[in-house]
Symmetry: C2
Subunit: 213 residues, 2 copies
């Protein structure tokens, strides 16, 4: 079996959010697909280890913020590489309340759902949500996972089903890699000459967490 075949499946880049007893929380996700059209339902897949999973089980609701190519890629890092258990992720990202749910203001569209069914797997829950509200927020092309990988040079967190353990940059020379999210610095200015307040554009961690590889 050649797991590289899995990389050819196409995904978007989403923030799945919900309420944690009145506090907004969420996580980055790639797996969402419309299942029925009338009434509209959407399936999402969330790792059991993601705090958002537990919060969706309790609240029975989730929102999907669909990121666009022009959305700040830092949103992906904020929601993808930290845990909602001990971070108020929405403190760092501008939000809107839509359909009584927290969504990311810088997304190109959002969809709000009530959980109506679920399917458990060994590591993930597939939630089936019936759409209660949805709208377009701004004109932008949706960010695909391929765009995130190829243009933004982002990586997968370990909880993502799309994570492949051997995923490493094919480094022909020394590169500086963000130790938190795996972002590979490829700017024209040599990494050493970047200002000290440089931050990883994906996960917003400081220059000091970058490692030479």
């Amino acid at each position: 079996m050649n797991k590289n075949a899995f990389r050819q499946l196409s995904y978007g880049v989403y923030v799945v959010s919900t309420w944690d007893k009145g506090r907004a929380t969420g996580c980055t996700a790639n797996s969402a697909m419309q299942i029925t059209s009338d009434p509209a339902t959407i399936a999402i897949s969330i790792n059991h280890d993601n705090y958002t999973n537990q919060c969706i089980q309790e609240s029975g609701k989730f929102a999907i913020s669909i990121l666009g190519e022009n959305s700040d890629p830092g949103i992906i890092g904020t929601f993808g590489f930290k845990s909602g258990r001990d971070h108020n992720k929405f403190d760092e990202v501008e939000s809107l309340i839509k359909g009584y749910m927290p969504v990311v203001a810088d997304a190109c569209a959002y969809i709000v759902c009530d959980v109506i069914d679920k399917m458990e797997t060994s590591t993930h829950t597939v939630f089936l949500g019936q759409v209660t509200d949805a709208d377009v927020l701004k004109k932008d092309d949706a960010m695909t996972y391929a765009y995130y990988h190829n243009v933004i040079k982002g990586k997968s967190p370990k909880n993502a089903p799309t994570y492949i353990a051997e995923e490493q940059p094919a480094a022909s020379e020394a590169k500086y890699v963000c130790g938190v999210c795996g972002y590979v610095y490829e700017g024209e200015i040599p990494f050493e000459e970047l200002p000290e307040d440089y931050k990883c554009p994906v996960c917003k961690q400081p220059k000091s967490v970058f490692v030479k590889k």
Copy 2:
């Protein structure tokens, strides 16, 4: 609720295939996502009305052929706009047998699965498949649904969850539209001057099925 938000979800373009009592059959699908990584599982969504759904329920197996940007778009029409009940779709498309399953030879990758769970909805079955075989067939960028819409100018069959009834070209002048799949002819040669053996590049129907709109 603005259903245009749903169009911002990202999908690929796939042929989901299986055996119908020894005869290969399948349908075009957009909804597939990896759920777990080890063991690897993939969820797909197939309309109850698609003959492929019934065949997967009976065989307990399915294959996903992942189409690339350079795959023949006619494959989408063959598998998307005809029923496997009365068409031997694989007679029109070159196939390979991989992991004991029929796959499309012109795909960029394939994934073969045993059904291990399913979730029924009002119109679609979400099948959860455990991967038994997978490989890359050729180097190509996976075709996204956005590419299919924007570059190939393809449309959704009515059984697709992504189908939106009001989906119509914003015609400012008369256009020729394939009456079977909705492909809009936008070539430089006036439609009337195309040779009589011209075929719709998406569903391979003859020039005579095009209607002026």
